[in-house]
Amino acid sequence: MSNISALATLSKRRFALSAHTPREIIVPLLTPILFALVIAPALRDSFGGFHSTIDYLSFVALGTVGLLVPLSMMFAGLGVIVDRENGAQRELLAAPIPRRLLVLGNLGVALTVAGLQLAALFVAALLRGAEFHGGASGIAWFAGAVLLFSVGTYGMAETLASRVHSAEEYVGAVPAIAIVPWFFAGALFPISVMPGALAAIAKVFPLTHALALMRYGLVDPNGTGLHDIWNMSNTTLEAVLSLTVVAVFAALLTRVAVRAFTRSAVH
C-alpha cells in the first residue's frame, strides 16, 4: 500500500471521528469570532484605533486567527488521547504502514478543520466591516504564515498528547499553550506599545512572527508589525526572516511530535 493511500485512509478515519458533527467545528470558533464581531468593533469605536493606515477591526480580525488556530489544533490533539485510551490506536500501530503517517494523517484533518474555521471567521469579519487587501503575494504571505504556524502548533498538541497520561492533564495545559502566547504576540495591539522586556519576550513566540506576516499580507503592506520585530529597513527581508522562524517552528515541532508519538506508543 502506498503511503499516500494510507495517509488518505487515516485522514478519512480521523475526519469521520473528529469532525462528524458541526459542534466539533463550531466550538473552537466561538471565542475568536466573538472577538472579531464584538470586542474589536467595540474597542475601535471606544478608542478610535491606533494606526491611521490600518483599520482596527481588520487588525483584530487577523489577531484572532492567533487564538483560533491554537485552540483548533489543541482540540485536534485531544483525538490522539481518545485514540489511545478508547480508540483503535494499537490496531493502527500494528498496521503495515510507517507510524509517522498516523501523526501526519491527524495533522491533515486538523489543518482542514482549521481552514474551515478560518473561512467562517473571515466571512464574519467581512460582514462586520473588516477590510482585507493584498494581491497574490499578500495572500501567499498570509497563507504561508498561517499554514506553517498551524503545522507547528499541531506538533505541540500532538507532542503534549503523547506525553500526558490523561485528557484531564491535557486540557489543563491547553490555556498555557494556546492562549498565553496570544497575549504577548500583538493580537490586539502592536508589540511596540508593550514595555521593552515584554516586547523582547513577544519576539520569541512564533505566533508574533506569524501575526506580523498575516497582517503584512492582508492589512499592513508597510509591514509595521515586522518592523517592530526586526527593526530593519527591508520589509521583504523581514518577512522572509519571520517566515523562516515560523517554518523552523513547524519543522521542528512536527519532528518532535512524530518522535514523541512513536516513543510513547511503542515501548
Partner: protein
C-alpha cells in the same frame, strides 16, 4: 528455579516456520524483566498457545511479535520477516486481536473493517466481499452498520476477530481473546476460534490463562512463568507426564512429613508437590484404589482426600508451585 525446557524441533520439516523466536527478551525502563529469553517455533497452520497467569510475559511476547513492543534482546521472525529489521513486512502478513477492546467506537462496525482492509492493502472489491462473508460467518450482519458504541462486549470482540481476518493474515495473534466475557459469549467465541484453527492457511498464536481454552484450541502449548517458558508440548503430552490420575490430600499438619511418608512407600514420585496444606500426588505406577489403600495404612493426618484427572493447572503447579487461577 526456572528451567528452559528442551523444545521439540518442529522446524525439522521442510516447511518454514510461521513464527520463530530465539532468545527473545524484554526489559522495560526501570529494570522490569518481562520476558527473560524465550525460544519457540510455530509451524504454518498450527494453533500455538502461550499459557500463564497475568504478568508471566505473554502479552509482552505478543507485543514484540506484532512490533508494538521493541525487544531488548534475541530475535523473532513472523512468516520469515524479522520483527526488528523488517517490521513493516512482518505486520503486513499478520493481524492481532488485543486483550482490551481496540475499536473506533464512533464509527460503524463496517467502517472499522474497511479501515483495516485499506491499511493492509486489500483492494476495495475484495474487501467488500470478505467483509460480507465475515460478518455473516461471525454473526454481525445485522449490526455491522451500527456504531460500535452500541455493541455489547461480545459483539465488539467478534468484530475485532472479523477485522483481523479481513486481510487474511498468515499469522493471527489473539491476546487473551475471551477475557472478561460472560460464559455464553466466551463459548461462542471459542467456537469461532476453533473454526479458524481448522483453516490450514492461518497460523494462530493465542495467549490465555484459561486452561480449557488452551486444551481445546491449541495444538501445542508453552507454559510461561515469570518471563520464561517452563514447559512446551502438546496439551496431551503435558498431561500425560503427570500420569493417569492424581490423588489430592489436604493435610492437617506438615505436608512435607506426609510427602516423605508417601515417597517411602513409592506412592509419590519426584513430581508430587505441595501448595499450602495441599499435597498433590500424580500416580504413575499405582491405581488410585491401591494408592488410597496405602495412604489409609499410613495413618496420616488427612482432612480431605480426592482423586481426579490431571489438568494443565497441575502441570503449571508442579513446574512453578503457583496456580494459574490464583496467580491470574
Amino acid at each position: 528455579m526456572h528451567i528452559q525446557p528442551d523444545i521439540p524441533d518442529i522446524t525439522a520439516s521442510h516447511v518454514a516456520p510461521a513464527i520463530e523466536v530465539s532468545g527473545l527478551r524484554k526489559t522495560y525502563p526501570g529494570g522490569v524483566e518481562a520476558v527473560k529469553g524465550v525460544d519457540f517455533s510455530v509451524t504454518q497452520g498450527e494453533a500455538f498457545g502461550l499459557l500463564g497467569p497475568n504478568g508471566a510475559g505473554k502479552s509482552t511476547t505478543i507485543g514484540m511479535l506484532t512490533t508494538t513492543i521493541v525487544p531488548t534482546g534475541g530475535t523473532a521472525r513472523v512468516a520469515g520477516f524479522d520483527v526488528a529489521t523488517a517490521a513493516l513486512a512482518a505486520r503486513r502478513v499478520s493481524s492481532v486481536v488485543f486483550q482490551e477492546s481496540v475499536l473506533d467506537r464512533g464509527l460503524t462496525g463496517r467502517s472499522n473493517l474497511q479501515i483495516h482492509g485499506r491499511l493492509w492493502g486489500v483492494d476495495n472489491a475484495t474487501a467488500r466481499e470478505r467483509i460480507s462473508e465475515l460478518v455473516e460467518t461471525i454473526g454481525l450482519a445485522e449490526i455491522v452498520d451500527r456504531k460500535v458504541s452500541s455493541y455489547s462486549g461480545g459483539q465488539r470482540r467478534r468484530l475485532e476477530i472479523a477485522r483481523a481476518l479481513v486481510s487474511q493474515p498468515r499469522v493471527l495473534f489473539l491476546d487473551e481473546p475471551t477475557v472478561g466475557l460472560d460464559p455464553r459469549i466466551r463459548f461462542e467465541l471459542l467456537e469461532v476460534i476453533a473454526r479458524l484453527r481448522d483453516r490450514a492457511d492461518t497460523t494462530i498464536l493465542l495467549t490465555t490463562h484459561y486452561l480449557d481454552e488452551a486444551e481445546r484450541l491449541c495444538d501445542r502449548v508453552a507454559i510461561m512463568h515469570d518471563g520464561l517458558i517452563v514447559a512446551l508440548d502438546t496439551p496431551a503430552a503435558l498431561l500425560a507426564a503427570l500420569g493417569r490420575e492424581i490423588v489430592e490430600l489436604r493435610i492437617d499438619g506438615p505436608a512435607e512429613v506426609a510427602l516423605a511418608a508417601l515417597r517411602s512407600r513409592a506412592i509419590a514420585g519426584d513430581d508430587a508437590f505441595i501448595v499450602g496444606s495441599t499435597l498433590t500426588v500424580p500416580l504413575h505406577d499405582h491405581s488410585s484404589v491401591d494408592a488410597i489403600s496405602v495412604i489409609h495404612g499410613l495413618r496420616l493426618p488427612i482432612a480431605a482426600m480426592s482423586t481426579r484427572q490431571p489438568t494443565l493447572d497441575d502441570v503449571y503447579l508442579q513446574l512453578t508451585g503457583d496456580s494459574i487461577a490464583v496467580a491470574a
